[in-house]
């Protein structure tokens, strides 16, 4: 290997390392899992953190049909008007989150774990990326209410 090539390799490596270090300081938008939903119909107004529903977690255990046919979830984020009374009544989330199939509603913070103040939205949705003003906190940890 000639010294000229060596130097060029060294130069590009230095530039690469520096660019990487520089990029670390730039705040990143939210990087949640595809199809995570933030549901904030009533939570913020009631002084709770918004609920976060992870599709990926539930998809490993159940097929779409279970919730979207049997439990009556409409294909719309925030379109189901779910409140705690309905859940305790055994509807929507409460059909499984009742202590029998899954953990029960006493574990408030497991669902109500979103950053306060977020609107109801689909994370990573093509529609939001294209047309709607997508919610992106400027810093993953900095958005407080």
């Amino acid at each position: 290997m000639s010294s000229r090539i060596k130097r060029n390799v060294l130069k590009s490596m230095i530039i690469g390392v520096l660019a990487y270090m520089g990029a670390l300081g730039i705040p990143q938008p939210a990087q949640a899992e595809y199809a995570d939903i933030v549901i904030n119909n009533y939570a913020d107004a009631a002084g709770m953190r918004p609920a976060v529903f992870p599709h990926w977690f539930h998809r490993i255990r159940f097929r779409c049909k279970v919730c979207h046919t049997d439990l009556g979830f409409a294909f719309k984020a925030g379109g189901n008007k779910i409140d705690m009374a309905k859940i305790i009544d055994g509807k929507f989330c409460g059909a499984c989150h009742n202590g029998e199939i899954s953990w029960s509603v006493e574990n408030c913070a497991m669902c109500h774990s979103g950053i306060p103040g977020q609107p109801t939205h689909f994370h990573g949705s093509t529609v939001q990326r294209l047309i709607a003003p997508a919610y992106k906190p400027l810093q993953a940890t900095g958005a407080k209410k």
């Binding site: 990087q31 949640a32 899992e33 977690f57 097929r63 979103g114 093509t126 939001q128 992106k136």
Partner: protein, 223 residues
């Protein structure tokens, strides 16, 4: 030559640090404004859709670092890390970076078809629907099998798709706006990106295919 490299790297380092410091202070200002006034929502530009221009910096972050879960909430830290759940599943280049359909076909997943009965089997319909496309992209093949593995007939029929030939007007603009296929695709099932076009547009045009003439050309044909 050696000095030159040193000079270049030094100036780059300074530039980078200044840039990083600037970005940090902008972010601080923004969060300050948030606390007092409104949540800042960044309007996405057209370019964010173009997969060639912007790629996510990191994949499958743990809930506490993903930007929508509150790290100050104690229970956030007890939520499962997606990568722990995805171990051993076939990967893909988009969405959750997991090929869910392949995982189900290979038996790596055993999701329930019924809420409480783990032995209930889905009603699978193996029927491919070919939809000719007016434009020059390959025609669409809709496979019922992969869809009925997950969903029930009434999820799509008749509210989203009329179960009748030539009864459904489907266009990419409708899909991108969240109608028709876009009710799920682009939100939950695989996203609509340049990488995924070929998943639906998968049947090559017949050899004798010619592009259809537009209405304007039909009205005023070339002499």
């Amino acid at each position: 030559m050696n000095y030159k490299i040193k000079a270049v790297s030094l100036s780059l380092a300074m530039l980078m640090s200044v840039f990083a410091w600037n970005a940090q202070s902008y972010a601080d200002e923004a969060t300050g404004a948030e606390q007092s006034l409104l949540m800042l929502a960044e309007v996405s530009s057209v370019n964010t859709f173009n997969v060639n221009l912007k790629k996510p910096k990191s994949r499958n972050l743990p809930p506490a670092e993903d930007g929508i879960h509150d790290p100050e909430n104690e229970a956030t830290h007890s939520l499962q890390h997606p990568l722990d759940a995805y171990k051993g599943l076939p990967t893909s280049e988009y969405g959750n970076y997991v090929d869910w359909v392949k995982a189900l076909d290979e038996g790596k997943l055993r999701p329930r078809w019924d809420r409480s009965d783990p032995n209930e089997e889905p009603f699978v319909l193996d029927l491919d629907i070919v939809r000719p496309v007016k434009a020059s992209v390959p025609d669409v093949v809709f496979p019922h099998r992969q869809h009925t593995e997950w969903l029930y007939c009434s999820n799509c029929h008749p509210a989203i798709f009329v179960p009748q030939k030539n009864a459904n007007q489907i266009s990419m603009s409708a899909i991108l706006l969240g109608q028709k296929c876009g009710v799920c695709h682009g939100k939950v099932s695989f996203p609509i990106e340049t990488k995924t076009c070929r998943k639906c547009h998968s049947k090559p045009k017949p050899a004798d295919w010619t592009p259809p003439l537009s209405e304007a050309t039909l009205k005023n044909p070339w002499k």
